[in-house]
């Protein structure tokens, strides 16, 4: 009896333990399954949301003003730039307070004109921000605003530049123009050096070749009318305009073959660069219609794979949030 009791107890406990174990296993398994089911359900809920095309006002600001900037940051930047421009003029010529005010007022006029255009586009954007097809059109209309912001609002044709000619005497204006030329020359040289450094990464130039190439492009080509995101193409196009008789002797045969192929790709970009306002317009020629991004020469997108904007990666290997 005692033996029976023991085996009975044992069996009962064994049965209870196995039931408990199976129950918990079922729970564990069901956790996994339920998790999967929830995921499927969540996906099912998310799917219709993904189909909705929706752009935010922040994105509009990012496209116009660049990176994380918004409209206010863009305005601050332009206000500061105007102050510094007037300071620059005052460094060379003695400006009265009234003259300074005139210049500031003119610059603010340019800024206002710019923001009026931005607001006009913003309204248009508000109407099409849920429409993917129309949205592409508005994006192309924003490109000139980005270009204007990048290359500065106070250059040729601005109210500021017209006012400065009235405020300064002829001699002062000539001096100021020289300062501007120096600035542009410095910037152009830096861009040429950068492009030559990039070429160096594909054809392996000697120091003498690098130096001579920079000097040749600098001396044989025109200063650009403005700078911006297409500087690489501009310099390459300009380099392609240098007479072959001057360029070719700088290189070994193999280098020249590789380099000339790149220059050939850029030689067809004149019209694009002129419509972007990076090259002076040719007199007597009707300015062509500004092409949309999809109409650019194929070379613009195909040739320099190395200057395509990359998404930078932080040193920890993560893409930056911006």
């Amino acid at each position: 009896m005692r033996g029976f009791d023991r085996s009975c107890w044992f069996r009962m406990h064994l049965a209870a333990a196995l039931l408990a174990a199976l129950g918990s296993a079922g729970t564990c398994w069901s956790q996994v399954t339920v998790g999967e089911e929830e995921e499927v359900e969540n996906n099912a809920v998310l799917q219709p949301a993904q189909a909705v095309f929706m752009m935010t006002d922040d994105q509009f600001d990012q496209w116009v003003f660049g990176g994380p900037r918004n409209s206010r940051a863009g305005r601050n930047k332009l206000d500061s730039l105007l102050t510094l421009q007037v300071d620059d003029v005052a460094r060379m010529c003695t400006l009265s307070e009234a003259q300074k005010k005139k210049l500031l007022l003119a610059g603010r006029g340019d800024i206002k004109r710019f923001f009026d255009q931005v607001e006009e586009k913003r309204k248009k954007f508000g109407k099409v921000k849920n429409d993917k097809t129309k949205f592409n059109e508005i994006y192309q209309e924003l490109v000139p605003l980005q270009a204007a912001l990048n290359s500065g609002l106070f250059g040729d044709g601005s109210i500021y530049s017209k006012t400065i000619r009235r405020v300064l005497s002829e001699e002062e204006d000539a001096r100021y123009q020289r300062v501007i030329q120096d600035k542009n020359r410095f910037r152009y040289r830096a861009k040429i050096e950068l492009v030559v450094a990039q070429l160096d990464q594909s054809v392996g130039l000697r120091d003498e070749q690098r130096r001579k190439l920079v000097e040749l492009i600098m001396s044989e080509t025109q200063l650009p009318t403005r700078f911006g995101q297409y500087d690489y193409y501009l310099v390459m196009y300009q380099a392609g305009q240098v007479a072959e008789a001057k360029l070719k002797p700088l290189f070994e045969d193999r280098q020249w073959a590789l380099l000339n192929r790149q220059l050939n790709q850029m030689r067809g970009m004149e019209q694009f660069l002129r419509t972007q306002g990076l090259l002076p317009a040719v007199k007597g020629v009707q300015p062509p219609r500004r092409p949309a991004a999809g109409e650019l020469p194929a070379e613009v997108f195909a040739a320099p794979a190395d200057v395509e904007k990359k998404v930078p990666v932080s040193e920890s290997g993560q893409k930056p949030k911006s």
Partner: protein, 316 residues
């Protein structure tokens, strides 16, 4: 008492069964993401390490393991086994990653090849050898790059750590193996050109940084000159980690300390300088040089031959 013993045994059985099912559930759940990529030691290092361990064991007189010790080793082996199983796919993943980077590093070697060819005036035989050495150097550089990258992703990055420059890695790996290939005169010309290229690259970066600041701060001619001097005197390689950064300099500006720039600026300029976003933790990747085409018909045939040889070796 005996009932208590039974109860304990059964509780143990229950825990074991339920525990295993719980683990099974966890495994099924955890098995979804890929195993963490752990960089294994290089094969060459492994080989060196094993005989070294054996030698040390011999010296300590532990060559004949006692049965108890053998049993311990067996238990250890069982414990270590899963780690080894995980390390194998990790090593394979690393190799696959290295192989991908080899393709991206090859154009860098190609530029280096032409640089050495033009600097040293290599003959056909030297060109062949250089092309072959290049294949080895590219692999070694790619492996070093991937290992450094993984180390950073595992939390090895600290503020101030520079991301490895792929071009430098290729250059270093080549410099290690290239010496016997060149004559004394060729080698000294090569070294001199390397120095000039580094100086030129630094100047390009400085000029472009100053040009960017000129656009934002409207500098005077004298300020530009002083700024060029200041940047040159306090130079850090990380300021010019890649040409892409300079192409996109309106969005990303290196983290140049205030004390280098601010003393040169007016008060209004200082205010704008402080607002310029500076980035220290951004890696710009690397460029492959404009217009580079794989298996370019314009390339030296030696390059294509060496690449074919290397690929055939890899397949074996």
């Amino acid at each position: 008492m005996s009932r208590l013993g039974d109860l304990l045994v059964l509780t143990g059985v229950a825990c074991a069964v339920s525990g295993s099912s719980f683990v099974l559930g966890q495994v099924q759940d955890v098995a979804l993401p890929p195993p963490p990529a752990v960089a294994p030691p290089r094969p060459a290092e492994k080989k060196k390490e094993e005989p070294a361990k054996a030698d040390a064991a011999k010296k300590q007189g532990r060559v004949e393991a006692k049965p108890a010790a053998k049993a311990k080793v067996a238990v250890k082996a069982m414990v270590v086994q899963p780690a080894r199983v995980a390390a194998q796919p990790a090593a394979a993943a690393l190799d696959a990653q290295v192989a991908q980077y080899v393709r991206q590093f090859r154009p860098m070697f190609r530029a280096e090849y032409y640089f050495i060819r033009n600097t040293c005036g290599l003959n056909t035989d030297q060109r062949k050898q250089l092309a072959r050495l290049g294949e080895t150097a590219v692999k070694a550089a790619a492996r070093r790059f991937v290992e450094a990258q993984q180390k950073m992703m595992r939390g090895g990055w600290r503020p101030g750590t520079d991301y490895p420059d792929p071009r430098n890695l290729v250059e270093q790996e080549l410099a290690r193996v290239m010496s016997p290939l060149l004559s004394h005169d060729q080698e000294s010309r090569y070294k001199a050109e390397l120095e000039k290229r580094a100086a030129s690259r630094k100047q390009v970066v400085i000029d472009n940084l100053v040009a960017k600041l000129d656009g934002d701060l409207v500098l005077s001619s004298e300020q530009r000159t002083r700024l060029v001097e200041a940047l040159s005197a306090n130079w850090k390689d990380a300021w010019g980690q890649s040409l892409e950064m300079l192409m996109n300099i309106d969005s990303f500006f290196p983290n140049i300390p205030d004390q280098v720039v601010a003393p040169i600026l007016t008060d209004n300029q200082k205010e704008v300088w402080r607002r310029i976003a500076k980035n220290s933790n951004v890696f710009w990747g690397f460029s492959f040089g404009g217009g580079i085409v794989e298996n370019d018909p314009l390339d030296d045939p030696e390059l294509a031959e060496a690449q074919k040889e290397a690929e055939a070796r890899d397949k074996k």
